[in-house]
């Protein structure tokens, strides 16, 4: 078999029984791998009433047909039901773990049930060994990875949880290859609930390539395209993702103090340009990645990776903090403890506003950089106020009677682009099937950055069509599984070419887009069955009611009503956001 390794194993952690999951050629063609095949398998194994922390919940690690082959192919996806949102969720991470899992002989791993004591899985030579992890329980993610490598091989790639996952913090991350994170949606907490400390892999199997000559030529072409593109070939390398700080701030949509303002006066001091001048030691790159957007940094006290754009915002402007060292060290702590930085920062910001309004009688104040690290650590261990922060913003704000102060969609915190500054991004957030996420349809690309074309950010015209298209492309790329940053440099036809030379399957561009649409719709069906509907495709009231008084997004509100019906129509869903029978038939669902 070309592209795929041809083996997905299901393991039950109570009985330790293992079995191969049969995947038909038709299923591979319809879902590819990664997010797509992961979601398909999840929906066959679990249902909308499955408790994310119950033993019968499935946790699925998936690679794709392109994993371990072309540029940027070290990634993997984790699929399960999110304990934070209750939606189906996939979380993506870079590094090399995906490629190494395939070299160990597997396309994916389906994990069910709960071990009666802490364990880790060691995948090698197509086999899975269950090992005792009692001695690893309590270690942070860096210590865990090192310990597992000592017990296996220095070449082992390790995806693991830290204390936050063990303690089922609802936004616990899975960390791999030191500081790469499957961050969003609490996949680390699902892992912790299974008493599963780590999944480790090592091996030397090669991915079979259908057309080796074509593959070689195509890789050279892609390398040249990526290198020539000013974003992938230069900007991301030199300045990382935090180059966005000044850009988004200049557009008056850099969320400040829990989205109450769109301009952060100290943006320059936490920008990518500033990080490059001060903390940056060198760039870092994932497996076979010529871009190298990662930041290896050093403060006076510590060294590690980050901050990237979302994190510099979450611990910076969002909290009124301009101390770059404090932001960076909070980032390091999240990496070590295994926490999603976006939800962590956003929840602290929500808490600060709750305290300011008097709804919560704690002393969490804007700009208090000195306490930031303590709040992060307390959250991972559920100590003191950390036990409440560990719930995420939606539950916290509801508990103190001010649900509108949680800046979330479907329970997931909105990231670093205020939707009042980009109507397409607003629609993307509202209709995202894993909640407040920028990665389902990254409308910032056309509405702010001008890729691939420039769109008027304040217009709602035509945005429904483009959001749906971007959602489908994203679902497709997540199913191949490659890095989304490639999309700055190349369009769908290059992905078609890559799949052809690697798998030998002659997909058309339209067929690939249909795969994306199928995956997105299947996720929607699960969410509908779990009780999500049109009323959940919305944003916090702040974005409809409160206008900024300063900055270039001033006097704007989100005009979701102008786009939502059209979006459902474009998707082939009814007015409640439920896919119509003819849509299901067309997609083979």
């Amino acid at each position: 078999m070309n592209g795929w390794m041809g083996k997905i194993v299901k393991i039950n952690l109570d009985s330790m029984k293992q079995e191969t999951v049969p995947i038909s050629a038709e299923m591979r063609r319809q879902y590819l791998g990664g997010r797509g095949l992961g979601v398909k398998l999840y929906t066959e194994l679990c249902h909308a009433q499955t408790d994310p922390f119950a033993a019968d919940n499935a946790l699925i690690f998936m690679t794709g047909p392109l994993t371990g082959t072309v540029l940027t192919s070290g990634r993997y996806q984790v699929v399960s039901r999110s304990p934070l949102t209750g939606t189906i969720c996939d979380s993506s991470s870079g590094g090399s773990f995906g490629a190494v899992l395939k070299s160990a002989g597997l396309d994916g791993l389906v994990i069910r049930d709960r071990a009666d004591h802490p364990v880790y899985l060691y995948v090698h030579d197509g086999e899975i060994e269950v090992r005792d992890a009692s001695g690893l329980w309590g270690l942070n993610t860096q210590q865990t990875q090192k310990a597992v490598q000592e017990q296996t091989s220095a070449k082992t790639s390790v995806a693991c949880i830290g204390p936050a996952g063990e303690n089922r913090v609802l936004f616990a991350a899975i960390m791999n290859d030191k500081d790469r994170a499957a961050g969003r949606g609490g996949m680390g907490a699902v892992m912790g609930a299974k008493n599963l400390k780590a999944v480790a892999a090592s091996g030397s199997q090669l991915v079979a390539i259908s057309d080796p000559e074509g593959y070689k030529t195509l890789n050279t072409r892609i390398d040249r395209i990526v290198d020539k593109n000013p974003v992938t070939g230069k900007s991301l390398q030199v300045l990382g993702t935090s180059v966005l700080v000044n850009i988004i701030n200049a557009h008056g949509m850099f969320p400040t103090e829990n989205f109450r303002c769109g301009v952060f006066n100290d943006a320059e001091g936490i920008s990518g340009e500033k990080i490059a001048e001060t903390l940056l030691q060198r760039q870092s790159a994932c497996y076979k990645c010529p871009i190298g957007c990662g930041r290896a940094t050093k403060t006076r006290n510590k060294q590690g990776e980050g901050p990237e754009y979302e994190t510099v915002w979450a611990f910076g402007a969002h909290l009124g903090i301009s101390d770059l060292t404090a932001i960076t060290e909070a980032n390091y702590a999240c990496n070590e403890l295994g926490l999603d930085t976006i939800t962590m920062g956003s929840t602290i910001g929500c808490a600060m506003e709750l305290c300011e309004t008097g709804a919560w009688k704690e002393k969490m104040r804007w700009g208090d950089a000195g306490k930031l690290l303590g709040w992060v650590e307390d959250t991972a261990y559920r100590r003191g106020i950390g036990a409440e922060l560990a719930l995420g913003s939606k539950r916290l704000a509801a508990k103190y009677g001010r649900p509108e102060l949680a800046m979330q969609v479907k329970g997931m915190e909105i990231p670093a682009y205020d939707p009042r500054g980009a109507q397409g991004m607003a629609l993307s957030y509202a209709t995202s099937n894993r909640g407040g996420c920028h990665m389902r349809a990254y409308m910032i690309s056309p509405e702010i950055l001008g890729h691939p074309v420039f769109l008027d950010r304040f217009s709602t015209a035509g945005k429904a069509e483009i959001v749906a298209l971007f959602q489908d492309i994203s679902a497709l790329v997540d199913s191949t599984v490659l890095c989304r940053f490639l999309q700055f440099a190349m369009g769908i036809s290059t992905f078609t070419d890559m799949l052809r030379v690697v798998t030998g399957l002659d997909f058309s561009d339209n067929e690939l887009m249909k795969i994306g649409r199928r995956v997105y719709t299947l996720e929607r069906i699960f969410n509908n069955q779990a009780g999500f509907s049109r009323r959940d495709d919305t944003l916090p009231p702040r974005f409809f009611q409160e206008e900024f008084q300063t900055g270039s997004s001033r006097h704007r509100v989100v005009r979701l009503a102008e786009m939502l019906d059209n979006y459902y129509s474009v998707r082939g869903w009814d007015k409640d956001g439920v896919p119509l029978p003819q849509t299901l038939a067309e997609l083979g669902l």
Partner: protein, 90 residues
Amino acid sequence: MVKFYALLRRRLDTQAVEIESDESSVLELLRLAEKKTGQNFLAELLDPEKKLLTGTMILVNGENIRLKQNLETRVRGGDTIDLFSPAGGG
């Protein structure tokens, strides 16, 4: 005031320049900025037809000139021009 960001800032080694000008087009103002910095950067931002390259962002008081009259957008003394070379992230 013309402010430089992203790679352009590093390339020019300048954060901003103040330009004395009553009223002009963005293009004219940027030519003055070239003189002031002593470096030719405009050619890097334009295609052979003298149109802005994809991804280049020029804001006048926070508004993208692509939504106005592009390089012919009028600017007055006291306006702020933010100039970003192509960039991206997530």
